[in-house]
């Protein structure tokens, strides 16, 4: 199995979720993160003083999937999240050795 971590633009979350649902991925976990990278943050100005917040609000999506569909998922996320602008984000694929569904104790792919 693979553990896929995608860091995307916040407003692309819904499209991504729909895309994943489209290929049968029901479950995922989302968290608010701050990104640093090529894209620079907006400057805020208070009383004439500029605050350059280098970070950009992003959303991190974590998806555990079966090996077969891993590539498909990466692609789906990529397509759904892409706007073509700097800061679109990344998708990372990590190996996943085990999974358990807490409710039932099911192990492995069945747990997803």
């Amino acid at each position: 199995m693979k553990y896929i971590i995608a860091v995307i633009q916040p407003h692309r979350l819904d499209p991504v979720r729909e895309a994943l649902a489209g290929i049968g991925v029901q479950g995922l976990t989302v968290s608010e993160v701050r990104g640093f990278g090529r894209q620079k943050g907006q400057t805020e100005i208070y009383r004439g003083a500029e605050y350059n917040t280098q970070y950009v609000p992003k959303v991190k999506v974590e998806i555990a999937v079966d090996d077969e569909i891993a590539d498909q998922v990466v692609e789906a996320v990529g397509n759904a999240a892409r706007t073509g602008r700097i800061g679109d984000g990344k998708v990372f694929v990590l190996p996943l050795e085990g999974a358990m569904r807490v409710r039932t104790g099911e192990m492995g792919a069945d747990a997803l």
């Binding site: 805020e44 100005i45 208070y46 009383r47 004439g48 003083a49 605050y51 917040t53």
Partner: protein, 405 residues
């Protein structure tokens, strides 16, 4: 003789001015600091309010408003002892208790204004001790000079609602403390932006509305003077806000809410000393000047001189108050819609008196608050440890978090 109408307005005005500090000013300042220091700011304002309330009763009111000394009053009204329950305040139609309370709220907000200078790094114990001494040694004498029949009153200085008594004393002291404390860690480039501009706006609104009590209440009657004071207050506040919005729009392309409400306070501080003497037209100009000059001064203090008067107390209150005192001499001219000069007085003569007042109050505040700060520093120290400053004062000094989500 007590007049119910005037008393009704002054009790209300008292509530409004207390509301300016609790929670108005507290929120205004609280929104401008890091989330980790929010509670410490609220605590400073709240603690000051309680401490001053008691001190005011014990002796401060008496020292400010009783007796005929040129420099300081006497203790005849300490603890309001001997005052009959239905005593009438001198030259008013108000119960003395109401005048006592109305004046107390001014004595509360003035040291609370100074909080803006030392937020995020001053010890709570030092804040209380400094406030105690400052009220007795700076606020009380200056109040006596100007409103208690002291030497500046004698000379005919005009300060309707506290351009010198409140704003200049607080502004100058803010500068002194900012310099003696030193800047916050990371100042100027690494300080955190205001954690809750919305909170600052709410505080500003409360200050604005409360300012009707501050300025119109200073008429001590519910009549034409109060009405005009309220009017010019509104016009100056609104104008200064638009000025600030305009400058930011021109300069950055983005008018900010924090900027707008800072303009409001600048306009309010500037009109304060003039609010009983000028007309609506003048208020437009006073708001314009106050807004523009204060905007400029914020940059001068923070960026030119690199003084971390964290929330710009001097640039807004000190400068605004002083400008207002000066412009009073101009716009009180009947020809300009003002009340007109006192018998045999001219604009020049009045301006001279006003300048004397500015000089004297500035000097006194500067020297005395410097000494007090040094004393407090020697006794208990002014500043928290670097670690406390880093982690935030809320948790380290007060054992609380502003937000437990």
């Amino acid at each position: 003789m007590i007049d119910a109408g005037n008393t009704a307005w002054l009790i209300t005005a008292t509530a409004l001015v207390l509301f300016m500090t609790l929670p108005g000013l507290s929120l205004f300042y609280g929104g401008l600091v890091r989330a980790e220091n929010l509670l410490s700011v609220l605590m400073q304002c709240f603690g000051i309010a309680c401490l001053v309330s008691v001190v005011w009763l014990v002796c401060a009111y008496s020292l400010a408003f009783s007796g005929g000394g040129a420099w300081i009053g006497d203790l005849s009204k300490a603890l309001l002892s001997g005052m009959p329950r239905d005593a009438v305040a001198a030259n008013t139609t108000l119960p003395e208790t109401v005048f006592f309370m109305f004046q107390m709220t001014f004595a509360i907000i003035t040291p609370a204004l100074i909080v803006g200078a030392f937020v995020e790094r001053m010890k709570f114990s030092a804040v209380l001790l400094f406030t105690l001494l400052w009220v007795l040694l700076v606020y009380v004498p200056v109040t006596h000079w100007i409103w208690g029949g002291g030497w500046l009153a004698e000379r005919g200085l005009l300060d309707f609602a506290g351009g010198l008594v409140v704003h200049l004393t607080a502004g100058v002291t803010a500068l002194v403390l900012a310099v003696l404390l030193g800047p916050r860690l990371g100042f100027p480039d690494e300080v955190k932006p205001p954690h809750a501009p919305w909170m600052t706006m709410v505080g500003a609104c409360m200050l604005w509305v409360g300012w009707f009590g501050f300025n119109a209440g200073s008429a001590l009657t519910a009549g034409a003077d109060a009405g005009m004071a309220m009017t010019v207050t509104q016009i100056s506040a609104a104008t200064a806000t638009l000025v600030w919005i305009g400058i930011e729009w021109a300069k950055f392309g983005k008018p900010s809410l924090v900027g707008a409400v800072t303009g409001t306070i600048a306009g309010l501080a500037t009109i304060t000393p003039a609010s009983g003497f000028v007309g609506p037209g003048a208020a437009l100009i006073i708001g314009l000047v106050g807004g523009a000059v204060c905007y400029f001064m914020v940059g001068v203090v923070k960026r030119r001189f690199k003084i971390d008067d964290a929330l710009d107390v001097f640039a807004v209150h000190g400068v605004g108050g002083a400008i207002g005192i000066l412009l009073t001499a101009v716009f009180m001219d009947a020809a300009l819609g003002g009340v007109g000069f006192a018998e045999g007085n001219s604009m020049g003569a009045q301006a001279a008196i006003q300048l004397t007042g500015i000089g004297a109050v500035l000097l006194w505040s500067l020297v005395v608050s410097f000494i007090i700060a040094k004393v407090v520093h020697a006794v208990i120290g002014l500043r928290v440890s670097a670690e406390t400053e880093e982690q935030g004062l809320d948790l380290r000094l007060h054992g609380e978090r502003g937000y437990n989500m």
